[in-house]
């Protein structure tokens, strides 16, 4: 175990290396590039024993990862924004094929117009696929989550998308504890696929299926999503035992006695933490609920924290046009059966990297009595 100052992207690459994937396929896009540059370097200098396939598009990046996974080895890819959108068809296919591919997405807006800065539109547009989704706040969390992702994916037999915010996490230096390979190996055993493209046991994968079979296959995906809570918790416990760092499906900050709770996912959580500190100093009972796992969505846990609160301000960085912020939809869904629900505010905090200052969040809390719950709230 060593401590080092690394970029968020590099933390991801270190996590991937510790997981010992056999095939990595990737195509460059800002702000994901540092991840794959670092991984290419590791493969070229022998630090990482993997094939690195420099494909000609993201569609091929995810396709090659899928092929490798179906052939029975650990496979990884990373992308962002337009790249993730281009992968869409294959992202679906991987779920149906029940392949534990791990993908890191550096969150970035999608054009038009061109914009390379962060928001969560790219990954939120992929929320209904059957991929597990985790949003990271820090470089340490990114490294640790990548390692956990392989463990969880291979047990649930569903793929996982790990999100890091473009630039504010990918391109920011942070102090990170880098686990040893021995620790990583103890946490993550070698991948043993149940079924794969095996010349000694030839099987066909993906043959046409009629409605009744197809229906049951889809039911199984939902059941696995529901069962994945247990596996994720187990992974978090194991991780804590081996590395001494504790993670959960969600994270909270000053929530117990809070009257106003901010809900957010991703690296802007840090800004909200500082805002909560300020508000507490001013005597305002503010708190924070950070969504780590967005899929499966931990509704029970969220309900247990938010049901008795007065105000819940959801800070979205994406929205479903014509409806609401995707995180708000989940929070409302989780609290639907509560009799005495909090007031839930659907706030679009930032898109395309529009800057967010601590003061913006503080003002929001001070003004909470004047906010409407019946419509999307926008910044000035």
């Amino acid at each position: 175990m060593v401590k080092d100052m690394v970029l968020g992207s590099e933390a991801v690459a270190l996590g991937v290396k510790l997981a010992r994937p056999k095939v990595i396929s990737a195509y460059p896009i800002t702000p994901q590039t540092h991840i794959i540059e670092r991984l290419s370097e590791m493969v070229d200098n022998g630090e990482l024993d993997a094939s690195f396939i420099r494909v000609e598009s993201e569609l091929s990046a995810i396709s090659a990862a899928m092929g490798a996974s179906q052939a029975g080895v650990r496979a990884f890819t990373a992308t962002s924004s337009h790249g993730l959108a281009l992968m869409h068809e294959v992202l679906h296919w991987i779920v149906g094929a029940r392949l534990p591919v791990v993908l890191v997405n550096a969150n970035r807006a999608i054009g038009s117009p061109w914009n390379i800065w962060t928001d969560q539109t790219d990954s939120m547009s992929q929320r209904d696929l059957g991929w597990l989704q985790v949003y990271c706040e820090t470089a340490q969390e990114a490294l640790d989550t990548v390692l956990q992702a392989f463990y969880v994916a291979e047990k649930v037999l569903l793929p996982i998308m790990v999100m890091i915010d473009g630039f504010i996490l990918s391109h920011t230096l942070e102090e990170v504890v880098i686990p040893t390979q021995e620790q990583a190996d103890e946490f993550l055993p070698p991948y043993e696929p149940g079924y794969f493209l095996d010349i000694d046991n030839p099987l066909s994968f993906g043959n046409a299926a009629k409605g009744d079979v197809f229906y049951n296959l889809r039911k199984d995906i939902q059941r696995s999503m529901e069962a994945s809570f247990g596996i994720i918790n187990e992974a978090h416990n194991r991780f804590d035992d081996i590395f001494g760092r504790r993670y959960d499906l969600i994270d909270t900050y000053f929530i117990d006695d809070a009257e106003i709770v901010f809900v957010i996912a991703g690296a802007l959580t840090g800004t909200v933490r500082v805002a909560v500190d300020k508000l507490r100093n001013m005597g305002v009972k503010a708190g924070l609920l950070k969504i780590r796992y967005f899929r499966p969505f931990p509704s029970d846990l969220v309900r247990s924290y938010l049901a008795d609160k007065k105000h819940v301000v959801v800070l979205n960085r994406s929205l479903s046009f014509g409806s609401a912020g995707q995180i708000t939809q989940e929070i409302k869904n989780a609290l639907y059966f509560e009799e005495d629900k909090p007031s839930i505010y659907d706030y679009v905090l930032s898109l395309g990297g529009k800057e967010v200052f601590v003061e913006d969040v503080v003002k929001l809390a001070l003004n909470v009595g004047n906010l409407e719950t019946s419509k999307i709230l926008w910044r000035e």
Binding site: K22, V23, S25, D49, A50, S51, I53, R54, V55, E56, S57, L59, S60, A61, S63, A64, A65, M66, G67, A68, S69, Q70, A71, G72, V73, A75, E89, V90, W93, L197, D198, I199, P202, L203, S204, F205, G206, N207, A208, A209, K210, V213
Partner: protein
């Protein structure tokens, strides 16, 4: 290899979903006899997505992976790299794609894999249209041919895309054309492909009775006349060597005999047939065949 040696070896099960007389089913059956049991098939959307059977049945005795339409060559790259990393480099990873999945939507992935010298075999069974979706035009559809999206004939300003040379320009280990109407030639080419290392591509002409508007009993005859008329030339190119014509008829028959066997060309007038003949003659001249 002599195909009499493998006449009793089958890697395709009985009861597949191909139409009677389907060239695609026949071609797979014979290709697998050469490729053998250490073969993995990667199959994009096509008629073969159905021919392979409906769950829980399967037409193949070798591992098979169905994949989205545009992805075959990229998926196969992933499979092959995985196998290399497992220390089992002797497995044939084979894409089995239609003309739509090769000439059109899968071309980018194919070019990428060829350029990266991926150690895979890419087979295109070319029935000259999108057959699975009901006979729509692809860029492999010959000028003049009727399809449901070219109801008055594929405009003559078009030319069938030259896949052989497109792939050859990537300098692959092996590139060939073949058709199961010439089984000895077909077997030799699959054997060469199997024994070469690097990117290998075989373009096979594959008759489709419903799409070509022919009687199923005429399927092999149609593929044969395509070669005898010079519409489809049997050739190959090994890396570092010039293009080699692998079969030359004593005398080419007029394309009319090939065209008029098929309902998809029945609407053609004399002038159009002449125009097609002129183009075929020019191509044969380019190949030093006339």
């Amino acid at each position: 290899m002599d195909f009499r040696d493998v006449k009793n070896i089958e890697y395709m099960n009985q009861g597949d979903y191909a139409c009677p007389g389907c060239g695609a089913g026949l071609s797979m059956r014979h290709a697998l006899k050469v490729l053998g049991e250490k073969t993995i098939i990667v199959m994009p959307a096509s008629c073969w997505s159905i021919i392979a059977g409906v769950f829980p049945t399967t037409a193949l005795q070798v591992p098979l992976m169905h994949v989205p339409f545009a992805t075959a060559a990229a998926v196969a790259s992933g499979v092959k790299n995985a196998y290399k990393k497992k220390g089992q480099d002797d497995v044939n990873v084979v894409c089995w794609a239609g003309d739509g999945g090769t000439f059109d939507i899968g071309l980018q992935a194919l070019s990428g894999a060829a350029e990266r010298k991926e150690d895979i075999i890419y087979v295109c069974y070319d029935n000259e249209a999108y057959m699975n979706t009901g006979i729509q035009r692809s860029s492999a559809t010959p000028p003049g041919a009727w399809t449901t999206t070219t109801p008055t004939g594929n405009p003559l300003i078009y030319e069938k895309k030259d896949m052989f040379n497109i792939v050859a320009s990537h300098n692959p280990a092996y590139v060939a054309t073949a058709t199961i109407a010439y089984p000895d030639d077909f077997y030799l080419k699959f054997e060469k492909a199997k024994n070469a290392k690097g990117f290998r591509f075989i373009h096979i002409l594959s008759a489709c009775p419903p799409g070509w508007r022919i009687d199923s009993k005429d399927s092999v005859k149609a593929m044969r006349l395509a070669v005898e008329s010079g519409m489809f030339v049997l050739m190959e190119k090994e890396q570092g060597k010039p293009i080699r014509i692998t079969y030359k008829p004593e005398r080419f028959i007029p394309v009319r005999e090939y065209l008029l066997l098929q309902g998809r060309y029945r609407h053609l007038d004399k002038n159009t047939i002449n125009e097609i003949q002129i183009r075929v003659n020019e191509r044969l001249k380019d190949l030093d065949l006339s």
